[in-house]
């Protein structure tokens, strides 16, 4: 217990150094520090609790198994957020492809061919986890965030929910600083437009 209290006062870099020396408590501490921010970001990106949990787990497993390749001159938080964001964006791209194939082949020439190549799925009841997601993410602002393009969503969440500086966001997302500012500017504009009806 005393060891755990001691570790809580250390910086991320110090905890990573301890983890590299094989201390399991250090691994647990890294998970404890970032599980909620990472999960929240991924959850708001993919809007599916179960999937967000899987992607967050993958993020931590990937990061903790590659601690040796982590360079301490970078912030650990930026590094792990980069992994999480990439996982979420990859998932959204895959989902987009799946949606295309569900809607039928893009090469189909006639409406009949489109229908024939589309996957047939039976009606799907809302699972308990889906119900939790729709309550948790049901607020007007959450809905407005969900309408944003994924790149805008990452930027706005990292800036105003996670509290990162523009430079750090640029580093996490591998984008030029100007692009990050533009995305945030546009995201704010779109959010305001989406929430306009609340003011009236």
């Amino acid at each position: 217990m005393a060891q755990r209290e001691g570790i809580q006062g250390l910086t991320d870099q110090e905890v990573v150094a301890l983890a590299r020396s094989g201390a399991e408590t250090a691994y647990r501490e890294l998970v404890r520090r970032y599980e909620r921010p990472i999960f929240s970001l991924v959850y708001r990106m993919v809007r599916d609790r179960e999937l967000a949990e899987d992607l967050s787990q993958e993020t931590f497993i990937k990061a903790l198994n590659a601690l040796d390749s982590y360079r301490p001159e970078y912030k650990f938080s930026s590094w792990i957020f980069k992994i999480a964001n990439n996982a979420a964006i990859d998932q959204l791209r895959r989902r987009e492809l799946d949606t295309l194939s569900l809607e039928g082949s893009p090469h189909a020439a006639t409406p009949d061919a489109v229908e024939a190549t589309a996957l047939q799925i039976g009606s799907r009841g809302e699972s308990a986890l889906d119900a939790v997601a729709s309550i948790e993410l049901g607020g007007e602002i959450e809905k407005a965030i969900a309408q944003l393009r994924p790149e805008y969503r990452s930027c706005i969440l990292l800036r105003h929910v996670e509290g990162y500086a523009y430079e750090e966001i640029a580093q996490i997302l591998d984008l030029p600083l100007g692009t990050v500012k533009t995305y945030i500017h546009r995201a704010r504009h779109e959010l305001r437009r989406a929430l306009e009806h609340l003011r009236q």
């Binding site: 094989g22 787990q57 931590f60 948790e136 929910v161 929430l195």
Partner: protein
């Protein structure tokens, strides 16, 4: 993204005002502009409200078993092995004498390996004849062992009784069934023993 003089405030100006960064060179001109521009004041208020709403969004928590599930799949380094490695490295590189000793041993090992590879490449016939001799000797020993084993079994007094027990096809089938059941039972037991505990088990 700063505004040209006379135009309304730009993104960077609003950002400076929203963050309250009074040190920024953009702050004073932006404040001055704001005093005389209703449109920018309204814009600032709207942005400020939006940001306050975003900043008040809650963090979500993953399931209780999250960290256990993650750590089950992380290869934790063995602290004892790491410490031993570090100690050995420290000792080996501690003094000039130990450094020389390590270098000599390394040179001897690498030199021997290199010499061995060179000799092998230079004498392919000798290597092949040694290989043939080793193969023949190994197969001879194998046959001697098999024959010895069989001869030993044939000499056993219980062999006749055992043969009589499984002389009929029915008894043979029963024996095969018994052996198969024992094997399958063993497999099932092994699988249960090696199964990872369920996530909920830790919190039961």
């Amino acid at each position: 993204m700063t505004s040209p003089s006379g135009a309304h405030l730009a993104f960077d100006d609003f950002d400076v005002l929203l963050s309250g960064d009074a040190e920024s060179p953009l702050h004073a001109p932006a404040e001055a502009h704001l005093a005389g521009c209703n449109q920018c004041r309204a814009e600032l208020a709207a942005q400020s409200t939006l940001i306050a709403r975003l900043e008040s969004l809650p963090f979500f928590s993953p399931s209780l078993a999250f960290s256990d599930l993650v750590l089950q799949r992380v290869a934790l380094p063995d602290p004892f092995a790491l410490r031993s490695l570090a100690t050995s490295r420290k000792r080996l590189l501690a003094s000039r004498r130990s450094l020389v000793a390590v270098s000599v041993v390394l040179c001897a090992v690498v030199g021997t390996m290199l010499a061995s590879v060179m000799w092998t490449l230079a004498n392919p016939d000798a290597v092949s004849s040694v290989g043939t001799w080793a193969g023949n000797t190994a197969s001879q020993w194998l046959w001697v062992a098999i024959r010895g084993g069989f001869a030993n079994i044939v000499e056993q007094p219980w062999l006749g009784t055992a043969q009589a027990w499984f002389a009929t096809p029915l008894r043979l089938a029963l024996l095969s069934l018994g052996i198969t059941l024992i094997y399958v039972g063993g497999l099932v037991a092994l699988r249960r023993l090696m199964a990872l505990p369920r996530a909920g088990a830790a919190h039961a």
